[in-house]
Amino acid sequence: MHDMLAEPVEAASARMGTEGRLATGARLMRLSEARPGDGGIIVEVRAETHPGDHGVGVEELQRRLLEFGFVEGARLQVLHEGAIRHDPIAVRLDDMRVALRRRDAEDVWLLAEAAPAGR
């Protein structure tokens, strides 16, 4: 898995370059598992989870995510989550805010920066 992601990670680290925080405590996670406060750079948007379960197919889900700006290299931060099962989530995506369900966020892979202390 890490081999597969090597290239996007490099691209991401190039974008984060000046901040240089990549080496310390960065971890790879699905957006669907992120909690409010988690944030980082999107390293990959796949088309593989839940075949057929979205009523539109995974390829279509991937295109919709991409169209909304969930694209490799975009900066993302989880802002809020719903009351029931922490779903849906509201994220800041570059300069806009987007709400989505966790089940639709599984294919968005995030290189999360170290979580803020105290969480």
Partner: protein, 624 residues
Amino acid sequence: MSEAALSPARVALVGNPNTGKTALFNALTGGRQKVANYAGVTVERKEGFVTTAHGRRLSILDLPGTYSLRARSPDEAVTRDAVLGRLAGETPPDVVVCVADATNLRLVLRLILELKAVGRPMVLALNMYDIAQRQGLRIDLEGLSAATGCPIVTTVATRKRGIDDLVAQVEARLESGALAGDNRWREPAAHEIRDAHKEAQRLLKAYVRPPERPDTLTGRIDAVLLHPVAGLMILLALLFVMFQAVFSWGKAVGDLIGEGFTGVGGFVAAHLPPGLLTSFITDGVISGVGSVIVFLPQILVLFLFIILLEDFGYMARAAFLMDRIMGGAGLHGRAFIPLLSSFACAIPGIMSTRVIDNRRDRLTTILVAPLMTCSARIPVYTLIISAFIPNRPVAGVMNLQGLVMFGLYAAGILSALAVSFVTRRLFWRGAVEPFLMELPSYKVPDPENVARSLLLRGQIFLTRAGTIIFPLMIAVWFLSSFPGAPPGATDPAINYSLAGRLGHLIQPLFAPIGFNWQMVVALVPGFAAREVAVAALGTVYALGDVGQAPGALATTLTHHWSVATGLSFLAWYIFAPQCASTLGVVKRETNSWRWPIIMFLYMTGLAYAASLVVYRVAVALGGG
């Protein structure tokens, strides 16, 4: 040449949602607008006209907002087809004006790249430019214009700034004889969307300097409004205020209007000789028109709230908060608004399901919307409750009659959730569509735009509902009046009419649920609108005008009906599709008879089953 000079040049407004596109459309066209539907689809077609400084007439088409020409909802399909010139009965636009929120350019830049592939002459309107300036956002307009190959105009639609500039630029595009190039657009694949994003990112980096003072207000408001606990409490409080407004202010004005129509009817009846014509005018025309207008104030108050909350940016937040709660029943977060509207009247509720992109989600919402307790049920509930439910305190603080009323509302909501849950399980298993939604920045609603939208809603309700309700009222009047009573008849005239005969004919079907023939006869005219059943009961029991003495009807009913029958009638009204207008609107909105028929069958089935259970249980408990 002459033809081109005579027919106005066509300009289409395209853009992401929440970019102030409609405000720009209003600023461009002022009052010169007309709203219709696109042929064959229930998407609103908003067209307006503007005359340029050189006297050229432009027709402006406000297309539904979209993030991509790859359409996902009926609205977005219209935008795509209009831009591509594929829409039946529409001429392709001569110039496309792409409207962008100047503070949020990323996604619109990608849309511009798609639009460029279509090859039509384009002008980019950077709207909300004042907010961009306030935030200290710098945009290299010349550079961006050169890079995208389209002229850029900065606008502030709400203050009507930049409008003349925009019109002049559009005209310049027309004058320059810029012809539509080849259409190279096709649905982009995932890698093409990625490439477009890279290009958009490059343009942003080269020509836009990030804001010095970014908007932090939206984040701070969201911290409260999207809070898992506080956010829901605020939503409930807002709903409470909204209902209060609809049922106190709206209803008060509605009642006044209703009394006005009754007065007019009485006046006409007093001054015309009694007979068929008078009956047609008073019972058919005047009460027909009245039954439409009575709901207008409530609907306007409801829509005022909805428009204000929408323009403020709250509706997307409400959908966010409600998504999981409604999702448990298989409903989309966006179904929240339509279902809310249905408490006033299912007709505007069903009309507002257009905000739901997905067809299945939309159909489920349409199917359950009439289960929400609309205000037309209130007169029926009030009558039956006052007749059969004792007015006594329960547990010290509550009142049994109020409790029953609350129970009826709750039964409506719960059954709507249950029906949508079952629909999902039975018909559309597993297919829960993705839910992706932008949470726009908060903005103070612009009074002029709010007023204009409200006026538009009222107008649409009157024309749509009016064209459906009015003929139905006439039809019901006809059924209840013909043929007239024979000379020397002792029973009320309605008994001899078609409605009366129909009622007698189908009464055996209703015997198991405890309905007598008078009730069944009253159900026939009550099919026009629920509250008509009250007046019809008055007619069947030959009480004359029950509006004058509502208590008398309740007393009569207690003499003629058993408690079990009364309760059975209440249960019937929770579910029964006793509103032909709703079925008519469903037919229009879904463009097929299939859905109104399904709705009629399932609601009647539920009503019958519920009445049967209630009646049998009540009889068994000694209420027969």
